[in-house]
């Protein structure tokens, strides 16, 4: 087949909604886009362990401690599934780590915000995981098979994450004055960054159109953001919390809530590295990786020794 007919075959698969598998021919840009998106997604999971990890040792009850620990561990698992999916495209996990540690790769900028109180565990679960789920559910049908399958597993596990966050918020909102204050404060701080999680507005999103065409993405950033606002307003009402945006108003004509202007200059600055915790997050990952090197090397050296001894035994 000529490249032209390969391309035709590929386009045909995409149009018929047939998944693309690792050994299928695919355009270079499709492969590159996928590697970028999947590895970014994996990095977000791994970096995402850090802000919540802060509170594992300070969780206020044994039950909360176990739940939080299991949740942060799930994020490690999700990172692992996603790195594995990216590896089917011909990039190694080491290489992806290298891109993360050198600042070449991006990750979700929300994790560059600090977790200041216990209520942040509630707000992250409720809002950040809520936004993530909204982004992720359509990805279970994304065109690349290994990515879609990883996302099915992620979404299955993710379902408890948002609930545990909401449960924390609910407990706080039913608690004492100071607990309600903690909840409102966390809501105020995480609301806008959560909206930014859906990425720049469609008009400024350079990759959206092609990604939708390739069925890597199923909805645009603005569509998903609107959906998130609509459900969150209702949930905030259940919690008895005040929306941190005075411009929130039901728009009868659109059938959606209108909301205020997002501070995109803050968003771009955080992406560029000027967020409150960018440096610490990358530093923590790099430290874990560098300090783990001798451990990983030891395991490989031991495996090699064992193998050598086994073949000696066989030869004798």
């Amino acid at each position: 087949m000529s490249v032209h007919s390969f391309q035709e075959h590929f386009d045909n698969l995409i149009d018929r909604d047939v998944t693309i598998e690792p050994k299928d021919w695919m355009p270079d840009d499709y492969r590159k886009t996928l590697i970028r998106q999947i590895s970014q997604h994996a990095h977000s999971e791994i970096i995402g362990m850090l802000p919540e990890g802060n509170w594992i040792t300070r969780a206020p009850s044994l039950r909360r401690k176990a739940v939080l620990l299991a949740k942060v561990q799930d994020e490690a698992g999700h990172g692992l599934y996603l790195y594995s999916a990216a590896e089917t495209l011909g990039i190694s996990r080491d290489e992806m780590y290298n891109q993360l540690h050198t600042g070449k790769a991006k990750y979700s900028s929300i994790f560059n915000y600090p977790t200041l109180t216990w209520a942040d565990m509630g707000a992250i679960g409720w809002l950040v995981d809520g936004a993530a789920i909204m982004n992720q559910v359509p990805l279970c049908r994304t065109s690349y098979g290994p990515y879609a399958r990883a996302m099915v597993r992620v979404c299955k596990e993710e379902s408890f994450h948002q609930r545990q966050g909401f449960e924390i918020m609910l407990t706080l909102s039913k608690g004492t004055d100071i607990q309600r204050k903690l909840a409102q404060d966390a809501f105020n701080r995480w609301w806008w960054p959560s909206l930014m999680m859906f990425g720049p507005p469609d008009a400024e999103s350079p990759n959206t159109e092609q990604s939708v065409r390739w069925r890597i993405k199923r909805f645009t950033n603005d569509e998903l953001r609107q959906k998130f606002v609509d459900v969150t307003v209702e949930q905030a009402r259940v919690l008895g919390l005040e929306m941190p945006d005075k411009d929130i108003k039901w728009n009868e004509e659109r059938g959606h809530y209108d909301f205020g202007t997002i501070n995109w200059s803050e968003f771009y600055n955080v992406v560029k590295g000027n967020g409150p915790c960018n440096k610490q997050r990358i530093e923590a990952r790099r430290k874990a990786w560098d300090e783990g090197k001798w451990v990983r090397d030891a395991a490989m050296a031991h495996a090699a020794k064992r193998k050598a001894r086994q073949s000696e035994v066989k030869a004798a």
Partner: protein, 102 residues
């Protein structure tokens, strides 16, 4: 292998494919992949990564490089010829209603 060489190389743990039997009596099914230094560790890592929610009762692992896969470009010649052999399926045959369990 000298230690110096280890320290200079990238020395990434190899990739393994994990297959899990979810219940006694069922087939092992591909669950995903992971990295491990050796086979024993691969099984244990699979236990820790892929059976945290009681997903399995038995685990197989195989190093990914040992998996041989068919070529998707040959899919037409590999799989289409089976499509007209409907006589391989039991529903192809008409039985009188009196014959019940067959």
């Amino acid at each position: 292998m000298t230690n110096d060489k280890l320290n200079n190389s990238k020395n990434e743990w190899p990739l393994w494919e994990v297959f899990i039997r979810s219940k006694a009596g069922l087939d092992h099914k591909h669950a995903g992949s992971l990295h491990a230094a050796d086979a024993q560790m691969a099984i244990e890592n699979a236990r820790d990564v892929y059976t945290r929610r009681m997903e399995g009762v038995s685990i197989w692992v195989v190093e990914s490089k040992h998996i041989q896969a068919s070529d998707p470009g040959e899919a037409d010649s590999m799989y289409d010829p089976a499509s007209d052999k409907i006589y391989r399926h039991p529903t192809f045959y008409n039985l009188p209603d009196e014959v019940k369990y067959m």
